[in-house]
């Protein structure tokens, strides 16, 4: 796709806006429509657009599959970690009021912000993962086929084709 000039240039212009809008939806969810789930999907869509335009290999260099797999787990851990933290502070599981000992309302604000961030992280990472796996599958299939026919060729492709 990189040889298509018009989508490439305009995508270069628009991807920052998509990512910024994702962050706006993420942190503006308390005030207007939106929240972690929507923000994660929008953010992932920006990355997917990059992968579509510049190719999967370059996208995988920017956001490595290892990092994405880490983020998938991290978001859920943030969410559950907040619950454990409130347990340790002496309140019920996920009762954010305990996060601030002076002002429970402020604790609620903080808790909602953190768990929405966790939700956004997991959703964005899962969406990117699903896209990576679906889009990268044909490459693997081709490699396997070329491997069966010509073993010497397969050796080289493995270096470039295998994910980090």
């Amino acid at each position: 796709m990189i040889e298509h000039l018009v989508p490439r240039i305009l995508a270069k212009l628009l991807i920052p806006f998509i990512l910024l809008f994702g962050l706006y939806v993420q942190f503006h969810g308390d005030f207007g429509p939106g929240g972690g789930f929507q923000a994660g999907v929008i953010f992932a869509a920006g990355i997917i657009l990059y992968a579509l335009i510049y190719g999967l290999d370059r996208a995988r260099r920017v956001i490595t599959p290892g990092l994405v797999a880490f983020l998938v787990a991290l978001g859920l851990l943030i969410y559950a970690g907040v619950g454990v933290a409130t347990l340790l502070l002496g309140a019920e599981f996920l009762n954010y009021g305990a996060l601030d000992s002076h002002d429970p309302v402020h604790g609620q604000h903080l808790g909602i912000l953190i768990i929405e961030f966790g939700v956004g992280t997991t959703v964005a990472a899962v969406m990117i993962t699903i896209f990576y796996q679906f889009a990268g599958r044909l490459q693997i299939t081709r490699e396997l086929e070329s491997d069966e026919t010509d073993d010497e060729d397969g050796e080289e492709e493995e270096m470039t084709g295998s994910p980090q």
Binding site: D30, Q38, Y79, G83, T129, F134, R137, D151
Partner: protein, 198 residues
């Protein structure tokens, strides 16, 4: 006409369009066309949700429908051979009967339901007043939906995130390249003598 009447009229038109698109999806025998019509369906649903004042749901529908669902469907189509899906359209009596009876039962059951937006409907008087009254005091965020989703029903949302997490892990395990490449390496390592077989 008042605003409410206009909204009702637009709602009826949107639902009619939804019906047309649904029948189109059923009749279409081409998977790519079905993916495209499903995109239109998603856009229509976002507008219906907006008219029902469910802005957060509409937002989710918008983000997923515009952003990723079509792309993931196309990714799936690229993996399978979509041109082979020539299913002949033929009328089948029993499924039609079951669908008609189920629809009739649902319509009959709808008689007892309160009208959309009725203030004294059971779902409006159960916990909703509590949320509306207590949110400014206890949580103090302007968007009550966020307060309910993230705080009052935080445990439920934790479960939803776990579902998404599981989906991601499942796709990773099913489609990931790691096991395949590992198997190939193994095969190559101990398969020098079997090279003639392949």
């Amino acid at each position: 006409m008042s605003v409410g009447e206009w909204e009702a009229l637009i709602n009826v038109v949107l639902l009619g369009l939804l019906l047309v698109v649904t029948f189109g999806i059923i009749r279409l025998r081409n998977l790519f066309g079905v993916v495209m019509l499903a995109g239109i369906y998603s856009l229509l649903m976002a507008m219906v949700f907006t008219l029902l004042d469910a802005v957060d749901v509409a937002f989710t529908e918008a983000a997923v429908g515009a952003g990723v669902s079509t792309i993931l469907s196309l990714g799936t189509l690229a993996l399978i051979d979509s041109r082979r899906e020539k299913i002949p359209f033929r009328f089948q009596f029993t499924p039609m009967l079951v669908a008609l009876v189920t629809g009739a039962v649902l319509l009959w059951g709808m008689q007892d339901m309160p009208a959309v937006g009725t203030a004294d409907a059971p779902n409006q008087v159960h916990v909703a007043p509590y949320y509306i009254e207590r949110t400014p005091v206890e949580i103090d965020v302007p968007n009550i939906v966020t307060a309910v989703l993230a705080s009052y029903r935080g445990f439920d949302t934790l479960g939803e995130v776990t579902v998404i997490f599981t989906a991601g892990i499942g796709v990773m395990m099913l489609l990931s390249s790691m096991p395949v490449i590992g198997a190939r390496r193994r095969r190559r390592r101990n398969g020098d003598d079997q090279e003639n077989d392949t």
